[in-house]
C-alpha cells in the first residue's frame, strides 16, 4: 500500500519529463488537448505537427513507442465508431471501392480518429511519467478543492485493499472446493460482492482512524520543496505553445 502508489500505466524510470512537477504536466497536457480539439478538422497538416510534438515528448520521457502503442488500444471503441460513421452519416455521398460513403461521415471519422488519438497519447504520456501520488499532489497545488483530493487519496488506497481482499476471498472459496461460474450460482458471487464491500470498509475505517489519531486533517503532508519553479513552467509550456503556433499557422495559411 505504501509502495509509491504505482498504477498500471506508470513507467517507472527517470527522465526529464518524469522529474517535472506534476502540476505543470497536468496544465501542459490540458492546454495541448484543448488546442488539438479546437483545430478545424480539415487542417490535416496541423495534426501531423501535433503528432511530431508528442513524439518529441516521448523521446524526452524515454517511453518505448511500442509500450505506448499497446496502451493506446484503450481507444478502440472510438475507432469502431469512427469506421461506422462514413456508412451511417448523412449528406453528400461519394463512391469508393463500390461503397457509398458519406463525406460528412468521412470528415467525422477523421475528426474522431485524429483528435481522439492525439488526446489519448497525450494523456498516456502524462500517466506514464507521473505517479498517482504526484498527480494528487499536483492537483492539490493547482488549488483543486480538498474534498476531491481527499476522496481520490482514499480511493487509490482502497483500490489496493479491494484487490487484496477479493483475492483472499477467492482463495478461501477455492480452497473450500467451490468455484461458482454458472448463472444459477450467481448468489455466491452476489454474497461475495457484499461481503467484500463490508470487509474492505472495516479495514479502511481502521486505517482512517489510525491516520486521524496521528494528526490527519484531510490533507496529506506535503513533502519539502517549493513545487514548480518558473523554469519548470517555462519548459512545460513549450508543448502547448508549439501546438498553438502550429494551429495558428494552419488556420492563417
Amino acid at each position: 500500500m505504501g509502495a509509491g502508489h504505482a498504477h498500471p500505466l506508470h513507467l517507472d524510470h527517470d527522465s526529464r519529463v518524469h522529474r517535472l512537477p506534476a502540476e505543470v504536466k497536468i496544465v501542459a497536457t490540458l492546454l495541448f488537448t484543448i488546442v488539438v480539439v479546437v483545430t478545424p478538422r480539415e487542417k490535416f497538416l496541423a495534426f501531423a505537427g501535433y503528432l511530431v510534438l508528442l513524439v518529441g515528448v516521448l523521446v524526452l520521457a524515454k517511453v518505448p513507442p511500442l509500450w505506448l502503442a499497446k496502451r493506446a488500444t484503450i481507444e478502440l471503441p472510438f475507432v469502431l465508431l469512427a469506421i461506422a460513421l462514413p456508412f451511417a452519416g448523412h449528406g453528400e455521398r461519394t463512391e469508393w471501392l463500390g461503397m457509398s460513403l458519406s463525406i460528412d461521415g468521412l470528415h467525422g471519422a477523421w475528426n474522431i480518429l485524429a483528435k481522439g488519438t492525439l488526446g489519448v497519447l497525450a494523456s498516456l504520456l502524462l500517466a506514464a511519467t507521473t505517479t498517482a501520488r504526484d498527480l494528487l499532489l499536483g492537483l492539490d497545488r493547482l488549488r483543486c478543492p480538498q474534498v476531491f483530493t481527499q476522496i481520490a487519496t482514499f480511493m487509490l488506497r482502497y483500490l489496493d485493499i479491494l484487490a487484496d481482499d477479493a483475492r483472499r476471498m477467492r482463495v478461501a472459496r477455492l480452497s473450500r472446493g467451490y468455484d461458482p461460474r454458472f448463472l444459477w450460482q450467481v448468489k455466491a458471487f452476489a454474497v461475495g460482492v457484499g461481503a467484500l464491500f463490508i470487509r474492505s470498509y472495516e479495514r479502511g475505517e481502521r486505517v482512517y482512524l489510525a491516520m486521524v489519531a496521528r494528526g490527519y486533517n484531510g490533507r496529506l503532508p506535503r513533502p519539502e520543496g517549493p513545487g514548480a519553479t518558473t523554469f519548470d513552467w517555462a519548459r512545460s509550456a513549450a508543448l502547448p505553445l508549439a501546438a498553438a503556433a502550429i494551429a495558428l499557422v494552419a488556420v492563417l495559411a
Binding site: L81, G116, L124, A127, Q150, V193, V207, V212
Partner: protein
C-alpha cells in the same frame, strides 16, 4: 458505441458545446463541494473513498451488449444510497477525473460532458428516485435493495440520454438522433439491470450488517442530533 456515451473522447462533441458543459459541470460540482463538505464526517470520509474505489473497479466491468457495442456500469445510484447525493456526485466525478488523468479513459476536453452525464445527471436522477421510493417502500435491507435496483436502471438510462442531447447540440457528424437515442436506451436498460443487481446486493448487505453506514437510511431516520454533532466536527476537520 456505448463506450462513447460513458467516457466521451476528444473530438466527438465540438469544442463550444464541450466548453458549455464543462462550465455546467464546474458549477454543479461547486454546489456539491459546498453541500458535501458538511456531510463529510469521520464515518463518511473513508466511506466516500471506498465507494469511489468500488465504482472505479465496477466501471472496469464492461458489458458486451452487441458486437462492437459495449458499456459499463456507472455506480451513481450506489453512491447516492451510501454517501448521499452531494458526496456521491463528488465520488463519481473523482473517479472520472482520475480515469481521465491516469488511465487515459475519456478525453480531457470531454471531462465536462462526462461529469455532467454520469456524475451530475445520473446521480441526480438516482437521488430523486431513491428519495421518492424510500417514502413508499419499507426501510429494510430488502426495501433499500429494491430501491437501489430500480433507481440504478433509471439513472443509467437517463445518463445515456444526456449524451444524446449533447450529441444533438454539438455532434461533429450528423447521424439520425432517433437511432442513437433508441440504441443507447436499449443497451442501457440492459446495463442498468446489471448495475442494479450489483448495487442492490451491495446495499442490502451493508444495510443488514452496518445499517449505520447507509446514508439513505440515516437521513430518513430520526437520528439527526447524532449526525448533526458529527457534522460540526467534520466541518472543522
Amino acid at each position: 458505441m456505448n463506450g462513447v456515451a460513458m467516457h466521451i473522447a476528444n473530438g466527438i462533441v465540438n469544442a463550444q458545446v464541450s466548453a458549455v458543459f464543462a462550465a455546467i459541470a464546474a458549477a454543479a460540482l461547486a454546489i456539491c463541494v459546498w453541500r458535501g463538505r458538511a456531510d463529510l464526517d469521520d464515518r463518511l470520509a473513508p466511506m466516500a473513498g471506498l465507494v469511489a474505489a468500488f465504482i472505479f473497479a465496477v466501471q472496469m466491468l464492461n458489458f458486451q451488449v452487441l458486437p462492437g457495442v459495449s458499456g459499463h456500469l456507472l455506480g451513481g445510484t450506489l453512491a447516492v444510497v451510501l454517501v448521499g447525493p452531494w458526496v456521491g456526485a463528488l465520488c463519481v466525478s473523482t473517479v472520472l477525473i482520475i480515469q481521465c488523468l491516469l488511465f487515459a479513459d475519456g478525453g480531457l476536453t470531454a471531462l465536462g460532458l462526462n461529469i455532467t452525464n454520469m456524475a451530475v445527471i445520473g446521480t441526480a436522477a438516482g437521488y430523486l428516485l431513491v428519495a421518492g421510493l424510500l417514502r413508499l417502500l419499507p426501510k429494510t435491507p430488502r426495501g433499500v435493495a429494491v430501491t437501489a435496483f430500480v433507481a440504478s436502471i433509471v439513472s443509467v438510462v437517463v445518463a445515456s440520454q444526456a449524451f444524446v442531447i449533447e450529441y444533438a447540440l454539438g455532434g461533429t457528424t450528423e447521424l439520425s438522433l432517433g437511432t442513437i437515442a433508441a440504441s443507447m436506451a436499449g443497451a442501457h436498460v440492459l446495463i442498468g439491470i446489471g448495475e442494479g443487481l450489483i448495487a442492490a446486493v451491495t446495499v442490502a448487505t451493508v444495510a443488514r450488517v452496518r445499517p449505520d453506514l447507509v446514508y439513505a437510511l440515516r437521513r430518513f431516520r430520526t437520528t439527526r442530533p447524532a449526525v448533526a454533532t458529527q457534522k460540526t466536527v467534520g466541518a472543522q476537520a
